[in-house]
């Protein structure tokens, strides 16, 4: 899609909603080097959201949407949960169908887009909660990786079923007392990042969304590697402040506390050999491009 396509007929301009007008005027579709720094100076690809005040998921959504390298040709796949409250407000095509089938939907979608647009880039990005990714949808999450489906899977890990009121999930910490874990969860947090690596993902990151620049780098890498090489998996800690008894202002600190070197969301990254090579080539090209731009600026 080019930005041309979303232009409004002059005769209808004034009756279009202001958020759409803003999208046409200042959204960053097609902008090279788009990233989190565009937030505040351009129209974001997310309008209002109906998440709780201070919910770290909303921060994650904003950074991810600002960081997609190619939003004008990206289709996102969601699942049921808090994320499905946000997707109707997102200005890239997105699919919600059932709970837990997101990686199956994305497999079919990516195949169809590859058949229909063989000479163009069409990125597919899955974004779902930990219940959808690790519990009810684990089969389809893993099988998509085994098949080396070329799309990115992002898991918003809030360590419980938040939208249904805080029940135990597979990514919950051992011992945490929650609904359906009345005496505390009896088994360890499922180690999906390690499983992802063993299942064939080429880029796996486990981190929080406390640092927008880090989220930008990770999302960009994960989409580009998925496009060229194979599946990628990003697990982001987006704590449910409501269910862990925090206030609206405490989400950021909770993430910072949880990403300390000994904590469960200390930054962890796995990059496969082909992906390492790809990233090195990308960095070299980037350097070359920046040098050329500098030279051009010097001449001017």
């Amino acid at each position: 899609m080019s930005k041309e396509r979303i232009k409004i007929s002059p005769d209808l301009y004034d009756i279009m909603p202001s958020d759409y007008q803003d999208l046409v005027q200042s959204a960053t579709y097609g902008k090279e080097d788009r990233g989190w720094k565009d937030i505040g100076t351009s129209k974001e690809l997310i309008e209002q959201h109906s998440l709780c005040a201070g919910c770290p998921e909303s921060m994650a959504f904003r950074y991810i949407l600002a960081s997609l390298p190619n939003p004008e040709d990206t289709v996102m796949v969601g699942s049921t949960g808090c994320t499905s409250l946000v997707f109707p407000m997102v200005a890239v095509h997105n699919i919600h169908s059932l709970f837990g089938n997101q990686n199956a939907i994305a497999s079919g979608l990516k195949r169809a887009l590859s058949v229909r647009f063989p000479d163009r880039v069409k990125d597919v990005v899955v974004l779902a909660g930990d219940g959808a990714t690790v519990d009810i949808g684990l089969d389809m999450t893993l099988q998509a990786w085994f098949r080396q489906e070329k799309f990115t899977t992002i898991c918003f890990d809030n360590e419980l079923y938040a939208n249904t009121g805080g029940q135990e999930s597979g990514l919950m910490q051992k011992g945490f007392v929650a609904k359906m874990a009345p005496v505390g969860k009896l088994f360890d947090k499922v180690r999906l990042p390690e499983i992802a690596r063993e299942s064939g993902c080429h880029y796996v990151v486990n981190c929080t969304v406390s640092k927008p620049s880090l989220v930008e780098k990770v999302i960009r890498n994960s989409v580009l590697i998925a496009r060229e090489i194979g599946p990628t998996y990003i697990q982001l800690y987006t704590p449910c402040i409501l269910e862990i008894g925090k206030n609206s202002m405490e989400g950021l600190q909770e993430m910072r506390d949880s990403e300390k070197p000994t904590e469960r969301f200390a930054y962890k990254e796995y990059v496969s050999e082909p992906a390492k090579q790809f990233l090195a080539e990308l960095a070299a090209k980037d350097k070359e491009r920046k040098a050329a731009a500098k030279q051009l600026a010097g001449k001017a």
């Binding site: 997707f87 109707p88 089938n101 939907i105 994305a106 887009l113 069409k122 389809m140 939208n163």
Partner: protein, 403 residues
């Protein structure tokens, strides 16, 4: 948006000519061929300009899904792969259809049941996927035998549901089915059912359309809902997500959406009548005794009618081809002279008889049966016996029936 243009007369990469579907199905020469039902599915798909086919091995399954893999290897299908379960496969089909592809899959029996959550979603999302259902038993103890009970579960999913009698029906309806379900005012998935084993694993002479002709490609931009390919503006679909709201607007939206799915099935009626030549076929419906059936029970009914004729009992036949849309008006008209209506079925619950009873006046005329299930065959003699018993005629006892 990609150009919406006619491809008629141009060639695909396999050298097949995109042909007007009506001309291909009704005017092009036919070539008689001796094939199994599964091979017929493959031959129909060869001509269907299908973008994506997703397969699963055990449902129990006909060999059709594997045969279509051969078509993919030959270059006739855009993409093809084996999914991990029927639930996943039906979701993968949905993903491909959301992305604007013409999508085909097959399932049967327990596989249909496992995938069931997907079907109302397909209809609600207006995805014109075609799913072949080669009906098998779903019960415990484990069965791989033919039994049509799974059709009854599909009737309220919002899908179009057709029930083929023969391999010839199957060949024609696969191709015609795409034309009906892809109509912009319909745009719904089609469950094209047949009786597993009896149709899929037996050989029959089928008149095929020329192999160098194929259907025009699917145009996703004729869909009543946006195709998820970022080729049209990513409009905001709703101000608040309806799912979590308990208010009047939420209720009204869901109600109107569901009503629209059933309205789309209604709108498919005229297209279905046009393409498969009516929702029912009738023979001798001026008779006082009429058999109403679908699938291979029609063939057995036809044989029973021949046996009854030998004994001087005149009996009419109604072959129900489409179950959704339901031919209510047609069945009322065709049964108006009947004093006795028999509904033989390959399932124990008699869902077709229930549908008919709910449709016609004086429903005590309906004799639900005979029923066979769990893979039993339905010899015409048991239909004859059922009819003669009901009419008070002397009936020879049938071995093993205890009659």
């Amino acid at each position: 948006m990609a150009e919406t243009k006619s491809h008629i007369g141009t060639q695909n990469k396999k050298g097949q000519t995109y042909t007007d579907a009506w001309q291909m199905m009704h005017e092009a020469p036919r070539n008689p061929s001796f094939y199994t039902g599964s091979e017929v599915i493959k031959e129909a798909l060869r001509r269907a300009s299908c973008d994506v086919m997703i397969a699963y091995p055990i449902t129990p399954q006909s060999e059709a899904a594997a045969l279509i893999g051969e078509l993919f290897a030959e270059g006739y299908i855009g993409d093809y792969f084996r999914g991990e379960s029927e639930f996943a496969v039906m979701s993968q089909c949905a993903g491909a259809a959301f992305g604007g592809a013409r999508v085909f899959t097959t399932t049967a029996g327990p596989g249909t049941m496992r995938a069931m959550e997907n079907f109302p979603m397909w209809a609600g999302a207006r995805l014109p996927i075609q799913m072949i259902v080669t009906c098998r038993g779903i019960n415990s103890p484990l069965s791989i035998q033919p039994d049509t009970i799974e059709i009854s579960y599909l009737l309220n999913t919002g899908m179009l549901v057709w029930h083929a009698e023969t391999a010839q029906d199957f060949f024609d309806w696969i191709l015609k089915g795409f034309m009906v379900s892809e109509e912009p005012e319909v745009h719904l998935p089609l469950a094209l059912c047949c009786d597993g084993f009896f149709v899929t694993h037996t050989k029959d002479v089928v008149n095929l359309t020329p192999a160098d002709m194929c259907l025009p490609p699917y145009d996703p931009y004729r869909s009543p809902v946006p195709c998820m390919d970022m080729e049209c503006p990513p409009v905001r679909m709703m101000r608040d997500p309806f799912i979590m709201k308990s208010n009047y607007i939420s209720y009204a939206t869901h109600a109107s959406w569901q009503q629209e799915i059933w309205a789309a099935i209604e709108r498919s009626r005229k297209h279905t009548i046009k393409w498969i030549n009516g929702l029912i076929d009738t023979e001798n419906t001026d008779a006082e005794v009429v058999i109403v059936a679908s699938g291979t029970a029609v063939s057995q009914g036809r044989e029973a009618i021949r046996l009854l004729e030998d004994e001087g009992v005149r009996c009419g036949l109604i072959k129900v081809k489409s179950l959704r849309p339901w031919p209510g008006e047609e069945i009322r008209e065709a049964t108006k002279n009947a004093k006795h209506i028999f509904v033989p079925e390959f399932n124990v619950t008699g869902w077709l008889a229930k549908e008919i009873k709910a449709t016609i006046p004086n429903s005590e005329r309906v004799h639900a049966g005979p029923h066979v299930c769990g893979g039993m065959t339905m010899p015409p003699e048991i239909i004859v016996s059922e009819i003669k018993t009901a009419l008070g005629l002397r009936s020879e006892s049938l071995a093993g029936r205890g009659s």
